[in-house]
């Protein structure tokens, strides 16, 4: 990698801008995402900025179990985020649809519709887990853009997800 690419990779890691989207969440995870920007957790130390427009964002943070109504909106907004981009699924709902599983109004989990890079399970997850998830997503995004490709979904272990991986947890819950 030449110098410019290394600089770019570094800057992408240090400057993740977020766009927050609610896909039918109960507002619990949304509050925790805002809390992670508050004085106690201060995600701006990592360069995180909550942006108003998906065009400005690098990382799409999605909360909620993905209702039928929100599927089209999620796909539109995912298309509006300019590359290189990453997606963080915040909370247990977008990972497994959580307590809403088998509901006829739900079309989740999220990775049926768009590729998800980081799962932050929890109901709601702690703000420090969200900050860690965003940092991981920024790293994945920078590496992917630099063509170093470990793009398996990452799970931030939380209290709700002892199994380790949200995808596995989703599968096991479906069998139950």
């Amino acid at each position: 990698m030449n110098l410019w690419n290394r600089l770019m990779c570094y800057c992408r890691r240090r400057s993740p801008w977020l766009f927050h989207m609610n896909s039918g969440s109960c507002n619990g995870c949304d509050i925790e995402l805002v809390a992670s920007l508050s004085p106690r957790y201060d995600a701006e130390q990592l360069g995180v900025r909550l942006e108003g427009s998906p065009r400005h964002a690098d990382i799409l943070c999605i909360t909620g179990p993905v209702t039928h109504n929100s599927v089209q909106a999620i796909q539109t907004v995912y298309g509006q985020v300019c590359g290189p981009k990453a997606v963080v699924a915040i909370g247990s709902c977008p990972a497994t649809t959580n307590v809403f599983i088998d509901s006829r109004t739900i079309d989740g989990p999220l990775n049926r519709h768009i590729p998800v890079d980081v799962f932050v399970p929890g109901c709601p997850p702690r703000p420090d887990a969200i900050v860690l998830g965003i940092a991981k997503a920024a790293e994945i995004l920078a590496n992917r853009a630099a063509k170093k490709l470990p793009v398996e979904p990452v799970c931030i272990p939380g209290t709700e997800c002892a199994a380790g991986c949200a995808a596995k947890a989703a599968a096991s819950e479906v069998q139950l």
Binding site: R14, Q45, G47, G52, C82
Partner: protein, 319 residues
């Protein structure tokens, strides 16, 4: 001013080579000051630089036709106008300049705001259009006061030349002139938050309210240019305030000790002070509604400006 000197001022000092790092520094100071006021640690020192480089590496959505072309052009015009405005600032004494360069500086300072209005409308986004309309109303509101204040300062010294305005007669000190200069600078300082779109006048780019206003549809390198032009506007606007307030400080502190490097240092320190002041005000206030803003400028602040310009005319008639 010959061509080489003009190019040197535009490209090296106080132009692009100096102004771009200064713009990033000021953007960082703003974010850091807000963070400290809120009891946070805030972004690292290099954050605006990281943001700029990252935005350069992002893709932009495909756009076609005249609107797409215009959307590419507006941020470039804004950056070059703001850089030109910085280049005109008389940081070093006897650095040249010409009669009427203050008028050119004001026009160049106004151009980024015009570009923002045009950009919002050419993006065809409803949020962009609302933001542009707000920017236009805001610009009409504060510019009356801003221009009256500048005219009063210029009229009291019979000149539109920046270099002459950056100095004041030290012996004998003209105390009425000093008082008027203070009044004018105060009116300019009240207008700066609106000019730089920060709280309490962050109406056009009201984040979380109309998404990002005129910038909603911008992405990647074009957004990077907007960020840069915003930073350069910071440098130019605070630099103008510092230029006008520097002779007052020099008279009050040490009129006979001012040498060129001390003058340049004073300029940088005053700019930094203005940035800190504006950031603290931005952190301490909430966004005002558009009608409150217009009423604030046309009813409350206009008194300062009218006072300043009437005393300037009075001085002119007397002399």
């Amino acid at each position: 001013m010959n061509l080489t000197a003009a190019l040197a001022r535009l490209l090296i000092f106080p132009g692009l080579l100096f102004a771009v790092p200064a713009a990033w520094f000021f953007l960082w100071v703003e974010r850091k000051a807000v963070a400290l006021m809120q009891g946070r640690i805030g972004p690292p020192f290099m954050q605006p630089f990281y943001d700029f480089i990252k935005l350069l590496g992002k893709s932009t959505p495909p756009r076609s036709g005249v609107a797409g072309l215009l959307m590419k052009v507006w941020p470039l015009i804004a950056v070059s106008a703001a850089a030109g405005a910085v280049g005109l600032l008389p940081v070093l004494p006897s650095s040249g300049g010409f009669q009427g360069d203050l008028i050119l500086l004001l026009a160049l300072l106004e151009l980024p705001s015009m570009c923002i209005i045009a950009a919002g409308f050419s993006s065809r986004s409803i949020f962009g259009e609302i933001g542009s309309a707000r920017e236009a109303v805001l610009s009409v509101a504060y510019n009356v006061v801003f221009l009256l204040a500048i005219i009063s300062i210029a009229a009291s010294q019979h000149t539109f030349r920046l270099e002459a305005l950056a100095q004041m007669p030290v012996s004998p000190v003209h105390w009425l002139g000093v008082l008027m200069r203070c009044l004018g600078v105060l009116a300019i300082l009240v207008c700066l938050p609106a000019k730089l779109h920060i709280n309490p006048f962050s109406l056009p780019n009201a984040e979380q309210e109309i998404y990002s206003g005129p910038m909603t549809e911008y992405a990647g390198p074009e957004l990077a240019m907007w960020e840069l032009s915003h930073g350069l506007e910071w440098v130019a606007a605070t630099g103008l305030a510092a230029t006008l307030v520097a002779p007052v400080v020099a008279i009050l502190v040490a009129p006979h000790l001012i040498v060129w490097w001390l003058a340049a240092l004073l300029f940088v320190a005053l700019s930094f002070g203005v940035v800190l002041l504006l950031s603290v005000v931005a952190a301490a206030t909430a966004r005002l509604a558009i009608d409150t803003t217009v009423r604030f400028y046309w009813q409350c602040t206009l008194i300062f400006a009218v006072l300043a310009i009437s005393s300037a005319l009075f001085m002119r008639l007397r002399s």
